[in-house]
């Protein structure tokens, strides 16, 4: 702590996870691989309210070229996409299950994510359920906790930087097209 603590500074911000847990559940390589290789993203708890965080993330990911699949039992269509009541009803293979639901629902969502053989389980900001995370990991899913998909995508694509945010990206190499 403080300014006299040496050359390097901790800039791993904004999570209650321990450094060891961050290495597993906020792993930079995992996150970048998921953002790069995922196509079908199911958004659990996608709201019909255009000012909710889930709607912001959904519309952003759609615009960035992902196949966004809203999951909300109380809606039939969001952002012009067919909406499903739960994960098991989706006919497509799911690369990422992105969760905007309360912590109490995470175990049941994890069960379904494992059942449909989703590639990954991603819990949004402030969502941490280590038990479910461990279970999903044991079943072979990549797991990310307490991170926003939109922010992480923006971080590596340069747009988060426009908002004056600390992306923690340092490089002297010329960017490639």
């Amino acid at each position: 702590m403080g300014s006299g603590s040496g050359l390097a500074c901790s800039i791993r911000l904004n999570t209650t996870l321990t450094p060891e847990q961050q290495t597993v559940y906020q792993n930079e390589e995992t996150i970048r691989a998921l953002l790069e290789e995922s196509k079908n993203i199911a958004i659990l708890g996608m709201s019909t309210d255009s000012q909710k965080a889930s709607y912001f993330v959904g519309s952003y990911l759609l615009y960035e070229g992902y196949n966004v699949i809203p999951v909300n039992p109380r809606a039939t269509e969001i952002l012009g996409r067919k909406c499903y009541p739960d994960l098991v009803s989706i006919p497509e293979k799911i690369d990422m299950v992105d969760v905007f639901r309360p912590i109490s629902e995470i175990p049941a969502i994890t069960d379904q994510a494992i059942q449909i053989k989703a590639r990954s389980l991603w819990l949004q900001l402030r969502l941490i359920d280590l038990e479910s995370a461990e279970r999903a990991r044991a079943a072979g899913l990549s797991v990310v906790l307490d991170k926003c998909v939109k922010m992480e995508h923006g971080r590596y694509h340069g747009s988060l930087h426009w908002a004056g945010m600390n992306t923690e990206i340092i490089s002297a190499r010329r960017a490639t097209l």
Binding site: S3, I11, Y60, H161, L177
Partner: protein
Amino acid sequence: MAGEIEKTLNPFMSKESKRQFGFDTRMLHAGHVPDPYVGARAVPIYQTSSYVFSDADYAAQLFELKQYGNIYTRLSNPTTAVFEERMASLENATGAVATSSGLSAQFVVFMTLLSPGDEMVASAHLYGGTVTQLSQTLKKLSVQVHFVDPTNLKEWEAAITPKTKALFGEIIGNPRGSILDLEALSGLARSHKIPLIVDSTFATPSLCRPIDWGATIVTHSATKFIGGHGNSLGGVVLESGKFDYSRYATIADPSPSYHGLRFYDTFGHYGFLMKVRAETLRDTGACISPFNSFLLIQGLETLSLRMERHVSNALAIARYLREHPQVAWVAYAGLPDHPQHVLAKKYLPKGPGAVFSFGLKAPDAGDARAKGKKFIESLHLFSHLANVGDARSLVIHPASTTHQQLTDEELIRCGVGPEMIRLSVGLETLEDLLWDLDQALHAAFV
């Protein structure tokens, strides 16, 4: 699609190291990856008011804040974004918003956080311009500020009421160089669930990083040591990303100007800064010029090197003045007899900045004013002006300039005695600065 240029500036596949880079490395690199089209090594100056939208859908998403991107330089600018991210990196902040000056940085914080009827508790040891902003301009907005002795934690605590929405102080206070006890104050703020706001202009992140000690919001006049060359006005707001704003209606409640958007709910740990940018900066127009951002970035690239010399010159001059027979007192927290020397060693181990004041020996107030004037007029190297934090050494005699309308009694009440001289120690050859002070002291006392 979504702004091809913007998507490729920080390439998806570049393999930045996961290493946590040191402070000096980040002074030079944070916030700027050379772009793929030109590869300019220096940060380009984007001297433009506005940005062509790639398509109508993208424009609509930008205006709804559903995409990050540039609309108009009053809100954001690519050159300014480098300055902002670099400052955020150096302060260990979650992000930053640059403004036109240090006072506007403070003002946009208060305008974003506070509502009419709210109160704030602030240190009484503040820059005079800040005092009037708090006591006069905020009063017009029905915000009441209680001023307390910053060195007395009990006074801070006693001034907090259920209406108190923030604590505010300068890390190194005016005019006697008092040091804010950051850990104690952030603990007090935390226990009342209110943010501690620290102005860290005199320290810069090179000497102290208040967020590491629990501060929630940090402001700077970047005009001073950050720019470091006395050529550009600018300010910056930084935020820790760790404060829970759910009980702050100004940040958490639906925003009427964004169709009921809840900034804290939607943007989480950067909800406060998004609100500062998308609402307060938009509506006050307190934006920085891109060219000033460029010059402030130039300053940042040598910040730690300059601060080392600033504080070593300052300490040597303070020691010299301390021993001078015509000097009554020296208020520099780097000296062992300063009341907050222990706090200075804790929070500012490399040195408590390079701005401090000292008093000329004089039998009465009238004599002190005359000697102060003569001293200033006799200096050759110290520039007589109203600024601090230039690479050059600066001096001012408040009683004969900024505070000349005040009576002797009023001067003493606001901590600015007629005998007080304020220095901002620059980077010149130390022996030359000592020579200049010595000959001017001699001239003042003949």
